[in-house]
């Protein structure tokens, strides 16, 4: 993909990207995983032989790996850095709506109806409410900033 960007840039053109980085959602996803592993929901993420069918699909790039890719393509003046960008919500309801419609999307497809989807999302919120008060009500985004010149 970065090679594509190289190809469409003019000489001395600039790459200016902010995306999810290595530390992104670390606390939030630890809570989600805890809810997945609970007796109430674990069977939705396993097949009939109790094998885990939930692929840990999140991949968040690191600074060093990104720099290496850009160097190999011949970008110059490369600046890559991680940045904590916490998003705060005024109420639990706002937070619930956000994680249900954004963060939990890949998880909710394992549920057959809206009632179950809602219940799973509510359980994540309840777990935070009970055991992770430092996450009330915020998302621990970690951004990777990428700046480079062709």
């Amino acid at each position: 993909m970065f090679e594509r960007f190289w190809q469409i840039l003019k000489r001395s053109g600039q790459l200016l990207i902010q995306c999810e980085g290595h530390t992104d959602l670390a606390k939030t996803l630890s809570i989600v995983n805890k809810v997945i592993e609970s007796n109430e929901f674990n069977n939705y993420f396993c097949n009939s032989e109790s094998e885990d069918i939930w692929p840990q699909r999140w991949y968040f790039a690191k600074k060093e790996g990104t720099e290496k890719i850009l160097q190999e393509i011949s970008f110059r003046n490369i600046q890559v850095f991680l940045e904590d960008r916490e998003a705060k919500f005024h109420t639990q309801d706002e937070y619930f709506l956000f994680i249900k419609t954004i963060v939990l999307i890949p998880y909710l497809k394992y549920f057959s109806n809206d009632t179950l989807k809602d219940k799973f999302a509510r359980s994540v919120v309840e777990e935070i409410d009970t055991n992770a008060k430092d996450l009330q009500w915020k998302i621990d985004f970690g951004r990777l900033n990428i700046n480079a010149i062709k």
């Binding site: 993909m1 840039l9 053109g13 790459l15 200016l16």
Partner: protein, 41 residues
């Protein structure tokens, strides 16, 4: 999303929207800047 962006930016004459796979992106003309926020991860 693209429809809404078109509506919001309708007064700007020099903006063009092209829907394509970001990993297969091709443009007729080269550009000065590739900018992206919260799209890649």
């Amino acid at each position: 999303m693209i429809r809404l962006a078109k509506e919001n930016l309708a007064k700007f004459y020099n903006i063009e929207f092209i829907k394509m796979d970001i990993s297969e992106i091709e443009l007729e003309e080269k550009v000065d800047v590739v900018f992206s926020n919260a799209t890649l991860h």
